[in-house]
């Protein structure tokens, strides 16, 4: 019982660690690392499912009867390469955010955004009062 489901529990734990990093940390790079951990936990889940007791790698060989399931391997193989591409995209966005805001901490970005928003609303207010006064 304990051994039989151990893999899945580890997957859940890893997934939750990744999830925790994503929601509890403000640094964008750290968040991306968290996402990577999350992603990897899914990979581990799929590969664990594919394992067959007593089987070997799904490459045919004379005299071997039991093979692990090749389908999840295919899905994960492509997912890894796609994963690095999307991670790269995320990192590229981070770099641009750093250049635009001067910081990659979520709270700071938020406060800068709020300031801009405030400035806009104030500007809009004063503009509207001006326009009301002008005629």
């Amino acid at each position: 019982m304990l051994i039989g489901l151990y893999n899945y529990w580890v997957v859940v734990v890893l997934m939750m660690i990744g999830f925790y990093i994503v929601i509890a940390h403000g640094n964008l790079v750290k968040k991306i690392v968290g996402l990577t951990i999350f992603q990897t936990s899914v990979f581990i889940f799929y590969i664990s499912i594919a394992k067959v007791e007593g089987g070997t790698a799904p490459i045919l060989h004379a005299g071997i009867e039991v093979y692990s399931n090749p389908l999840p391997h295919v899905l994960i193989l492509t997912a890894i390469v796609v994963g690095i591409s999307t991670t790269a995209l995320g990192l590229a966005l981070t770099v641009r955010i750093k250049e635009a805001y001067g910081s990659i901490e979520e709270s700071e970005i938020q406060s800068q955004d709020n300031q801009i928003q405030d400035a806009h609303t104030q500007g809009a207010l004063s503009q509207s009062t001006e326009s009301r006064e002008s005629p």
């Binding site: 039989g4 489901l5 893999n7 899945y8 529990w9 580890v10 859940v12 734990v13 890893l14 939750m16 660690i17 925790y20 929601i23 509890a24 640094n27 790079v29 750290k30 690392v33 951990i37 990897t40 990979f43 581990i44 664990s48 499912i49 594919a50 394992k51 089987g55 070997t56 790698a57 799904p58 490459i59 045919l60 060989h61 093979y67 692990s68 399931n69 389908l71 999840p72 391997h73 295919v74 994960i76 193989l77 492509t78 890894i80 390469v81 796609v82 994963g83 690095i84 591409s85 999307t86 991670t87 790269a88 995209l89 990192l91 590229a92 770099v95 750093k98 990659i104 901490e105 709270s107």
Partner: protein, 344 residues
């Protein structure tokens, strides 16, 4: 038994490393640990018989991803802000979700059970009949390139799109650098990193050839276009790291690389279209040749080649853009520093 022990040890180590990653503030250390995490995952994949996947994860998780992380950290700053957003609330959310998920796993078939639902639908066909239908002894390649070729096509397009995305976000118009300057920088670098340089010079042709070997032997053992592309790209990274980005840009033409990325996908798509013209359905290789098995072999060879081209060039594009951006930032920083010094 030993298999189980290795499995459990590796998984426990993974959890340990993940927790360490979560707790660390120094992002460089986080990236290093992420590299270890990638190596561990790859070892786990080998222990789980997923040799092809381990192949890819080795190059991606431990190599490229760590490298990109490092380039980005040099641009965005090394330390993390100590302020956390309501860690208790986050912990609560995570615990609840985790316990629900663990409750869910209680219904899962036990690990390695041969009669689990996943092993009863399509897998037997792949394992038993693919030798007659596709004629490739590596079942992963058979499924990847033949049974699920359409799916793989989508994945390659996603990789390509991500490459374009990075290009759009990070590419900067580059002024042509003076050859003499590059030459000068190179010479001084050569003095400084004599050993690294000479060893790298010896190594690079072999890494490149190894990548091509992996590309063409995907039918017989672990390997194929994805793995080959990543390894090929890492050889070029190594070159760029040691001989400078401008040298690498000069010898490896950027527009050709972009062209190759597109050609790879086109090659893949064209194989599908040709099989349609020959009267089959999209990506049905049986009709490519008079003998279905020969047709399958030809089709797999071509699309793997397409995949390899696209993956390799997209990885190179991604890396060159990140590194180029970093170099520009560095230059700007240096100039600012000099100005500041002058002002003082």
């Amino acid at each position: 038994m030993i298999g189980l022990l290795i499995d459990i040890t590796l998984l426990t180590l993974l959890v340990g490393v993940a927790i360490a990653i979560a707790r660390m503030k120094d992002l460089f250390a986080v990236a290093m640990l992420a590299g270890i995490y990638g190596l561990l995952t790859a070892s786990f994949f080998v222990a789980m018989d997923a040799v092809d996947v381990a192949f890819t994860e080795a190059a991606v998780g431990a190599g490229i991803s760590t490298l990109l992380m490092f380039v980005v950290i040099t641009m965005t700053g090394r330390s993390e802000d100590p302020v956390r957003h309501k860690p208790l609330l986050a912990l609560l959310v995570v615990t609840i979700t985790g316990s629900l998920l663990i409750f869910g796993t209680l219904d899962m078939p036990y690990f390695g059970a041969p009669d689990a639902p996943i092993h009863t639908h399509v897998a037997p066909r792949y394992i038993n009949d693919s030798m007659q239908e596709v004629g490739v002894i590596n079942l992963v390649t058979a499924v990847l390139a033949s049974y699920r070729a359409f799916d793989t096509f989508g994945e390659v397009v996603v990789v390509f799109t991500a490459g374009i995305g990075v290009l759009a976000l990070l590419s900067v118009a580059r002024r042509r650098e003076d050859d003499a300057v590059i030459e000068l920088v190179n010479d001084s670098m050569h003095e400084q990193h004599l050993i690294l340089r000479i060893v790298t010079k010896m190594l690079i042709p072999f890494i490149l050839l190894f990548a091509l070997y992996v590309q063409f032997h995907g039918d017989f053992g672990p390997g194929g276009g994805f793995q080959a592309g990543v390894i090929f790209a890492s050889a070029i990274f190594l070159y760029a790291l040691l001989f400078g980005l401008s040298t690498a840009r000069r010898v490896i033409n950027q527009s050709i690389i972009r062209l190759v990325a597109a050609v790879g996908i086109l090659l893949y798509g064209c194989v599908g279209v040709v099989s349609m013209l020959n009267g089959g359905s999209f990506l049905d290789y049986n009709v490519l040749s008079s003998d279905p098995i020969a047709g399958q072999h030809l089709g797999i060879l071509l699309i793997e080649w397409g995949v390899g081209c696209t993956v390799a060039s997209v990885m190179v594009i991604i890396f060159f853009n990140f590194a180029g951006r970093q170099e520009d930032n560095q230059k700007a920083q240096n100039e600012e520093d000099i100005d500041a010094n002058r002002a003082l």
